[in-house]
Amino acid sequence: MYVGWNIGANDTANCMGTSVGCGLISFRNAVILVAIFSILGALLQGQNVMNTIGRGIVKSDLSYQAVIIALVCSGFFVTLATFFRIPTSTSQAIVGGVVGIGLAVNAEVDFSKFIVIAESWVICPLMVMALSFGLMHLIKLILRRFETGSFRFQNALGWLAIGSACYVAFSMGANNAGNAVGPIANLKILHPKLLLLMGGLSIAVGAATYGRKVADTVGKGITPLDIPGAFVAQVSSAFGMHLFSLLGIPVSTSSAIVGAVVGVGLVKGMKAISKKTIATILLGWLLTPTFAAVSSYLLYNFIKTLFV
C-alpha cells in the first residue's frame, strides 16, 4: 500500500500534470479521474506487469521480511523524490529494490530479464519523445491548414486532452499497480485481482494526498504547455506505456511523460526546454533504482546480522 501510495503521489503528475499545468482541469478533478482510471487499468490489465515483478526477475520465493524490505526501500526513495518534486520512476525503484533483495538472499536473479527492463527505461522515453515530436508537428500542420481557433474548437481539443489524460491514468494503473503489489503476489497470500484492486486504490489515495508537487514540475517546470501540447504529450506517453504494459515490461510512466513533454517542447526549439529541470529528473532516474537496490541489499543483510 505504501508503494502504491508513492506511485499515486509521484505518478499522478504523469497522468494529469500536463492538463492541470495548462489549466484544463483543477487538481481535485484530476485526482478523481486518476483514481477511477488507474483502478480500472490495474484491474483489467495489471496482471502482466505483476507477474514480471512477482516472478520474472527473482526466480525464487521471497520471504515476508525480504518483500517488506524491498518495498519499503524502494518506496522511501520515491517519497524522497516526490518531496523534492522530481518525477522519478516507481517502476525503476521497485525493480531496483527487487534486484537488491534478490542478491541479498542469494536468489537466482534473471539478469537477462533485468537488462530487457532496463533497456525499456531508455527506449520508452526516447520512443515517446520521438512520437510526441512527430505528433505535435502533425497537429500543428493540421491546425494551421484549417486555421480554426474558435473557442468551440479549443474546447473540443481540451476535452480530447482530458480524455487522453484518462488513457494515461488507465495505462499507469495497468503498468504500475503491478509494481506495487508484484512482490506481494510472490507470497501468494491474496488473490491477484484483490491485490491489483489494493494497488489501484493505494495509487488513488497517493494521488489525492500528495500528488500536487510533482504535477507542478511536469505541467509547468519542463516547458509551458498549451492545450494541443498537453493532448499530444498525453497521447504519446499513454501509447508508449500501454505498449510496454501489453509486453509485461514495467516501464516508467514518469520517463514516458517527461519524454513526451520534452518532445512537445522541442517543437518550439531547445530554448523552450528547462535544462536544469531535465538534469534533475535524469539524476533522479539514475539514483532512485540504484539507491533502492543498494539500500534493500544492505538493510536485509543488516537485519540478518542483527537477528540471526
Binding site: C22, G23, L24, I25, S26, I139, K140, L143, R144, E147, T148, G149, S150, F151, R152, F153, Q154, N155, A156, G158, W159, D226, I227, P228, G229
Partner: protein
C-alpha cells in the same frame, strides 16, 4: 452535437448580445446625429431606445455568465470568453453614456463645429460595424484566424482615425473664442464620444489575444 449543447447555447447568447450592443450603438449614433442636427425629440426617441437595448444586453450578459459558470466550456476558456463579452458590453455602455451626455447635459455645439462633431461621432460609434464583423467571424468559426486578425487590425485603424479627429477638434475648440467653461464642456462631450471607439479597440485587443492563444 448533444455533447456540446451548453457551448452552443452560450455561443447563441453571445451573438444575441453582440446584436443588441450593435443596435444600442447604432441607436446612440442616430441620437447623436439628431441632436447635432437640432432635432431634439427624435434624438430623445433614439436615446431611449439605446438605453433599453443596453439594459437588455446586460441581462443577456448575465445569462452568458451564469451559463458559462454552470459548466459550459472548459474552465480554462471561460475567463477569456467572459472577458471578451464584458469588453463588448463596455462598448454598448460607452455608447449609452455618450447618448446620455448629449441629452442630459445638452452641450452647446457652435454651428461651425457641428460638422466636425458629426464626423467624429460617426467615426467613433461607426466602429461597431468592424467590431461585429471580427467577433462574428471568430465565433461562427467559419473564418481563418488571419481574417479575424485582419478585422481586428481594421478596428485599430478606425480608432486611430478617431484619435486624429479628436486631436483636431480639441485644438479647434481651444483656439476658438468661446467661453472657457463651454470649451471644457465640449471637451468632455468629445471625451464621451471617443470613449466608444476606445472601448471597441479594447474589445478588439481582447479578441486578438484569444486568437493568439489559439495559434500553435
Amino acid at each position: 452535437m448533444a455533447l456540446f449543447k451548453k457551448e452552443k447555447a452560450v455561443n447563441k447568447l453571445i451573438l444575441k448580445h453582440l446584436d443588441m450592443v450593435e443596435d444600442c450603438v447604432q441607436a446612440s449614433l442616430k441620437a447623436g446625429e439628431f441632436y447635432l442636427g437640432g432635432d431634439l425629440s427624435q434624438a430623445k426617441v433614439h436615446a431611449r431606445n439605446s438605453q433599453s437595448l443596453e439594459s437588455e444586453a446586460d441581462l443577456v450578459r448575465h445569462d452568458i455568465r451564469d451559463k458559462l459558470y454552470s459548466g459550459a466550456y472548459l474552465p480554462l476558456l471561460r475567463e477569456d470568453i467572459y472577458k471578451l463579452v464584458e469588453s463588448i458590453d463596455k462598448v454598448g455602455n460607452a455608447a449609452e453614456a455618450c447618448c446620455d451626455f448629449f441629452l442630459n447635459q445638452r452641450p452647446v455645439v457652435p454651428e461651425e463645429m457641428k460638422s466636425s462633431f458629426l464626423a467624429v461621432t460617426r467615426e467613433s460609434l461607426g466602429i461597431i460595424v468592424s467590431l461585429k464583423l471580427a467577433i462574428l467571424c471568430y465565433f461562427k468559426g467559419d473564418c481563418k484566424i488571419e481574417t479575424v486578425r485582419d478585422h481586428t487590425r481594421d478596428i485599430g485603424l478606425q480608432e486611430s482615425r478617431v484619435d486624429k479627429l479628436e486631436w483636431d477638434l480639441t485644438k479647434e475648440i481651444f483656439i476658438s473664442e468661446m467661453d472657457f467653461a463651454l470649451k471644457l464642456h465640449l471637451r468632455l462631450c468629445l471625451d464621451s464620444i471617443v470613449e466608444v471607439s476606445d472601448r471597441a479597440e479594447d474589445a478588439g485587443d481582447q479578441l486578438e489575444l484569444a486568437t493568439l492563444k489559439a495559434m500553435v
